[in-house]
Amino acid sequence: MRNAFINSIYKVTRENNNVMCMVGDIGGFLLRNYIKDFPKNYYNLGAAEANMVGVAAGLAMSGKIPFAYTITPFITSRCYEQIKVDVCYNNANVKLVGVGSGVSYGTMGSTHHSLEDIAIMRALPNMTIIAPSDPKEVEEAIFAAVEHNGPTYIRLALQSTLLDYKRGSFKIGKARIVKEGKDVAIIATGEMVGIALEAAEVLKKEDIDCFVINMHTIKPIDEKLIKKLSEDCKVIVSIEEHSTIGGLGSAVSSVLSQYQKNKARFKIMGFNDVFCREYSSDKLKIFNKYGLSSNHLAAEVFKLYDKSNNKKRY
């Protein structure tokens, strides 16, 4: 997804010279073509992220479309008050891009993880949150963010291969149905969409045909689709590479719990209010440790579906 961002910001700047790419001293090598071809659109503001966000707000209020890019915790929690005041309170057209979200920096420990970023960003008025699920969607999100006038946070993870499904046009706030199903829905965001597809394959063998929903926009959330699923499905499970507090699951839960016609059992899967203290260059191993592999997801769906049918299957 990082390379997809690098390519997308290049393409979008070529189309719109108001776009700017600001970095907190990362990505210099990957951005070398950008720096060469758009030297006036690029600023490395150093490891001084709070200031970078304030400067981005000033640029945005002067008609620029600045993308402020660095490792996720440093462009979210570190400079949260600048995001609240300078970006959201002013309603400035700043695009924040966090790279290596969730536990993507698998060997680096919790200082470089972001399992709370969606929660804190959701609480800010005017903020739009997009977590693309694959490289193609990164590009769609970047172009959509330029078209969208207002604060936007784009959460990038690692997924480097293209998810194979028929996709319509990308629209902020409108989830994508990756796989149609019946009775059961998995709602996932970011890299967990791929995991959800794998789980759906496992479940197919058990004769469970589940929807896989790519909730690429977490705010505003696609209420319409969630409500529809809650009427049609017995079980809904959300899964995210984020804390179970305040993220995708909370957003879905907020819709479900306030919807009278909801008849689905619901489960939130994510990091269960813990710091990730496991290290691995293979993120799947970390997911496995924290009960977030495709097998864990399939088992969870299976258990809930069984309960909802009120019968023992084996």
Binding site: A48, G54, L59, A60, Q82, D86, N91
Partner: protein
């Protein structure tokens, strides 16, 4: 004694009237930050009267000069000055800090004409001002960005992030005014967190520095006449000021950071300000 010229007397009169307006507005709403507003009155009156190229008729003109009040808690001074300049009707000052008003205890850029960015939390406006200055450089707009920070605000680390960036990128279109009233909320800066030399620090960050008396219009005129600097550095004007300036019993007293005058004190304060206004008017008419 050197005779004070008419322009200076007129500025002093405006400043005295502005202080009176601030006091009445804050007391009516039972608001706060009288003393913090008083220390920047002369600077604001001078900037809006003599320096800023900005028209209330075209507050969104991309070529305008911009002023950012980074120490947002001094906004009562800004509100009175903006109203006097015609950015909004003076009658709106009477609504300050009441439901439905655009004017709150800290300025909201989305609601108040002439306010470039919302401030209130310390150490934010300066970075935004750096963004404005950078945008002007990129867009080849020659206007200037003026930003006012407080000395207490310079405790914030983000101030020094912004200062370093402005120096590094040679933003000579950026002028910072440091309201150095030397008094924080709980006492004197030298006792709480001694800033040492602001001049030395800003010079080390790649800035031109000018030190003046922030209540002296002669000093203000002389320092701003030297701008823009001949080199490509941003400039900081370190304005030595007195918190509570203009009402003698409020001056340089930490208690007046948030206190409101009682009836008797209000009478005394208005008496002092009215006395000054009458005296200045008489001198102007001479």
């Amino acid at each position: 004694m050197k005779k004070i010229d008419k322009t200076t007397l007129e500025l002093e009169l405006k400043a005295a009237e502005t202080r009176k307006g601030i006091l009445e507005m804050i007391v009516a709403a039972q608001g706060t930050h009288i003393a913090s507003s008083f220390s920047i009155v002369d600077i604001l009156v001078f900037l809006y009267d003599k320096i800023l190229k900005i028209s209330p008729k075209k507050p969104d003109d991309p070529k305008r000069d911009k002023f950012v009040l980074s120490k947002g808690h001094g906004c009562a001074a800004l509100y009175v000055v903006l109203a006097n300049q015609g950015f909004f009707p003076k009658s709106i000052l009477n609504t300050y800090c009441t439901p439905g008003s655009i004017l709150g205890g800290h300025p909201d850029s989305t609601r108040i004409p002439g306010v470039e960015t919302s401030t209130g939390s310390l150490g934010h406006g300066f970075s935004v001002a750096v963004g404005f200055a950078l945008a002007n450089k990129i867009n080849k707009i020659n206007s200037k960005i003026y930003c006012l920070v407080g000395d207490g605000e310079c405790n914030e680390g983000s101030i020094w992030e912004a200062a370093l960036i402005a120096g590094h990128h040679k933003l000579n279109n950026l002028i910072l005014i440091l309201d150095d009233n030397k008094l924080l909320i709980s006492g004197f800066a030298k006792d709480i967190l001694n800033p040492l030399s602001f001049s030395d620090k800003f010079r080390a960050f790649g800035w031109n520095t000018i030190e003046i008396d922030g209540h002296n219009f002669g000093d203000l005129t002389n320092s701003f006449e030297k701008l823009p600097a001949k080199n490509n550095k941003p400039t900081v004007i370190i304005a030595n000021t007195i918190k509570g300036k203009g009402v003698s019993f409020m001056e340089n007293k930490k208690e007046w950071y948030s206190m409101l005058p009682n009836e008797e004190q209000m009478e005394d304060a208005l008496g002092e300000l009215n006395g000054r206004i009458i005296k200045l008017k008489a001198e102007i008419d001479k």
